[in-house]
Amino acid sequence: MAITREEVLHVARLARLELTEDEVERFTEQLSAILEAVAKVSELDLSEVEPTAHPLDVINVWADDEPRPCLPLDDALANAPDREAGFFKVPPA
C-alpha cells in the first residue's frame, strides 16, 4: 500500500473530514492506487526545471483604489445556517 490507514486518518484530520470506518477502508485502498499512479512524476529528473504555478505570464495586476458598494449585511448573512445580531453564529468552541 502506498498509503497506510494511519496516514489516511491523519490526512482526514488535516482536511477536517470525519470519516466512517467504511470510508477509511475504501479510501485507503483507492488512494493507494491513485498515489502509485501519480508517483510517476518522480521518474523525471527535473532538478534544472522551473515550476509553473500559473499558465500565463501575468504578474502584479494593479487596480485603482476606488471605493465601490459592497454586499449589504443582510445579503452577506442571507445563506448562513445560523445568525444572531448581524453575526454568523456557530456552536461554542
Binding site: 498509503i3 496516514e7 489516511v8 490526512v11 482526514a12 488535516l14 482536511a15 477536517r16 473530514l17 470525519e18 470519516l19 466512517t20 470510508e23 475504501r26 479510501f27 483507492q30 488512494l31 492506487a33 491513485i34 498515489l35 499512479a37 501519480v38 508517483a39 510517476k40 512524476v41 518522480s42 523525471l44 527535473l46 526545471v49 522551473e50 515550476p51 509553473t52 504555478a53 500559473h54 499558465p55 500565463l56 501575468v58 495586476v61 487596480a63 454586499l71 445579503d75 452577506a76 442571507a78 445563506n79 448562513a80 445556517p81 445560523d82 454568523f88 456557530v90 456552536p91 461554542p92 468552541a93
Partner: protein
C-alpha cells in the same frame, strides 16, 4: 412550431431579432421540450419558469452563480444556497439579452467525467440513455444535444467541456486560460478552471465566446483579448499547418472506431487544403495525467476548505462544539469524489511530501508547456480524438476512480499548458458520437473556430440524436 432539436442559437437570435418569435415564446418552447424529454435525461437540476428579459434563452452549469436562483455545484453541501450576486459571465449574458432557462447537472464540484458524481443523481446521454453524457459538464452537453437549450455554458478543468461535448455530439470550447472571468464561479482548481461555451455549431460557439470573453476587473487572472472574436466563415484550410501529435493519436485505450473517424477527419483536413504533418509531445501525454491528478486535487483541497457550515450551505450539528460541527458537515455534505481529491491534495501538500509530489508536478507542467510551444513552431493547430472512447454505460467506471480519470487523458495535456481546445463532432461509431479535438497556441480561438467551421461544413454531422428523428 419551433423545432428545438434543430434550431441553432444563431437561428434563434435571427427569429427574435426579426420579431418572428418572441423571447417568451422561445423560452416556453424549450420548457415544453424539457417537460417532454428531461424526465428521462435529467440534464437540468432546476429550470426558470419566467424569462428575465426578451432574448434567446441559455442554460448554465450549476456552478455559475445566479442571483436569486439556487446554485449547488452538484453538491449536497451547497443544497439551498441562493447566490446574492451574479457571476460576471451571467451578467455578460444578461447584457447580451440572453435569458436564463435553468441550471444544469454536473459532477459534484466539477470532479468527474460522467456526471455520475452529482449529488442529485446522474444525467443520461440523449443518444443512448443507458450511457453517460460525459462530464463534468454533462448536464449542459445533454441539454444542448437533446434540444433542451439553444446553447449552454460549462466549465473545463481537465476536459469537462471538451469530453462531454464529444460524447454528446456537440461543439465545446475550452478557452485560453484567463480569457473568461471566473468571478462568481464555484472554484475547483484555480490554475486550470475555465468557463466555456457548449453549442450545436462552431458559429454558435464563437458567438457565445464573444459574449463572455474579455478582461474582468473582478478576476485578476483575466486578460484583454489580443484580437476581437470573429464569427467563422471560411470553407477551406488553405495555408494552415495541422500537426498530428503521435502520442495523442496512438495513446493506449483509443477505441478502433474513434481512431478510424479521427484519421478520416485528418484526411479531410488535407483535402480542404491544409498541410498535415506528424509531430510529437514526448512526455506530455505520459506525464500529463499524473501531473493533473496532483495539481488539481492540491488546489481543490484548498478551495474546498471554505465549506465549513458557517457562512452558507449545509450544517450538520454535533454535540461537542464547533470543531465537531466542521468535521460532520464536511463528511456529510461531500460525496466520495470530492473527499478523495481533498485527501489526495492535502497529502500531496503535506510536510515531507510537498516537493516530491506537488513541487515535482509543477515542474512537469513546465515541461508540458514547453513541448507544446515547440510543436507550435511548426504547426498552427494540433489535432487528436477528444476522448479515447465513445459514451460508456452508466456504472461502468464508478467503482474504479483511476479508470474514470483516463477519460481525460487526451484533453488534460493542453489544459495543463493553459491552451485553448475545441471539440467538434466528426461522425458516429456504432451510433454514438465521436469528437475531434483541435488545440491551438494561447489566444488562437479565431483560428480554432475557422478550422472547426470548415471541417463542420465538410463533415455535415447531424447533431440531432437518431432516436429523436
Amino acid at each position: 412550431m419551433i423545432d428545438t432539436l434543430r434550431l441553432t442559437a444563431e437561428e434563434a437570435m435571427g427569429l427574435v431579432g426579426r420579431g418572428e418569435v418572441s423571447g417568451a415564446e422561445l423560452h416556453r418552447a424549450y420548457l415544453d421540450a424539457i417537460d417532454e424529454r428531461d424526465g428521462e435525461l435529467h440534464s437540468y437540476l432546476r429550470t426558470v419558469d419566467e424569462p428575465d428579459g426578451h432574448g434567446v434563452p441559455i442554460a448554465f452549469k450549476d456552478l455559475i452563480s445566479t442571483r436569486g436562483v439556487e446554485t449547488t455545484a452538484g453538491s449536497k453541501i451547497l443544497s439551498g444556497y441562493i447566490p446574492v450576486y451574479d457571476a460576471t459571465v451571467a451578467t455578460r449574458c444578461k447584457e447580451a439579452r440572453l435569458t436564463l432557462l435553468g441550471k444544469t447537472n454536473m459532477d459534484e464540484f466539477a470532479m468527474g467525467s460522467s456526471t455520475e458524481n452529482s449529488g442529485f443523481g446522474p444525467t443520461r446521454n440523449p443518444w443512448d440513455p443507458a450511457r453517460v453524457p460525459g462530464g463534468s459538464s454533462g448536464g449542459s452537453a445533454a441539454a444542448v444535444a437533446a434540444g433542451l437549450a439553444p446553447w449552454a455554458l460549462g466549465s473545463d478543468t481537465g476536459g469537462s467541456v471538451k469530453q462531454p461535448a464529444s460524447l454528446c455530439g456537440i461543439v465545446g470550447l475550452r478557452p485560453t486560460y484567463g480569457t473568461v472571468s471566473r468571478y462568481g464561479i464555484v472554484a475547483f482548481a484555480s490554475s486550470l478552471d475555465q468557463i466555456g461555451p457548449m453549442t450545436k455549431t462552431v458559429r454558435d460557439c464563437a458567438l457565445l465566446y464573444r459574449i463572455v470573453a474579455g478582461r474582468d476587473p473582478c478576476d485578476t487572472t483575466t486578460v484583454e483579448l489580443a484580437q476581437p472574436v470573429q464569427i467563422p466563415e471560411r470553407e477551406d484550410l488553405n495555408g494552415l499547418r495541422i500537426g498530428v501529435p503521435k502520442e495523442l493519436n496512438d495513446a493506449e485505450g483509443i477505441e478502433p472506431g474513434v481512431k478510424e473517424l479521427t484519421e478520416r477527419t485528418i484526411e479531410l483536413c488535407r483535402e480542404l487544403g491544409a498541410e498535415v504533418g506528424e509531430t510529437t509531445l514526448p512526455r506530455s501525454v505520459e506525464f500529463g495525467l499524473p501531473c493533473y491528478y496532483l495539481v488539481a486535487p492540491a488546489e481543490a483541497s484548498s478551495n474546498l476548505a471554505r465549506y465549513d457550515g458557517v457562512r452558507y450551505g449545509l450544517r450538520v450539528e454535533g454535540e461537542d462544539g464547533v470543531r465537531a460541527m466542521y468535521d460532520r458537515t464536511r463528511d456529510g455534505g461531500f460525496g466520495d469524489e470530492p473527499k478523495r481529491r481533498i485527501m489526495l491534495g492535502t497529502y500531496a501538500l503535506s510536510a515531507g511530501y510537498y516537493e516530491a509530489y506537488y513541487g515535482q508536478a509543477q515542474k512537469v507542467r513546465t515541461v508540458i508547456a514547453k513541448e507544446h510551444a515547440a510543436a507550435f513552431r511548426d504547426f498552427d493547430v494540433l489535432v487528436s480524438p477528444t476522448s479515447p472512447t465513445v459514451a460508456f454505460e452508466l456504472g461502468a467506471k464508478t467503482a474504479n476512480p483511476l479508470a474514470m480519470y483516463l477519460s481525460d487523458v487526451l484533453t488534460i495535456p493542453s489544459n495543463m499548458a493553459g491552451l485553448p481546445g475545441l471539440s467538434i463532432p466528426c461522425g458516429l461509431s456504432d451510433g454514438l458520437p465521436v469528437g475531434f479535438q483541435l488545440i491551438g497556441p494561447q489566444f488562437s480561438e479565431n483560428t480554432l473556430f475557422d478550422v472547426g467551421h470548415a471541417l463542420e461544413r465538410a463533415i455535415g454531422f447531424d447533431f440531432v440524436p437518431g432516436r429523436f428523428h
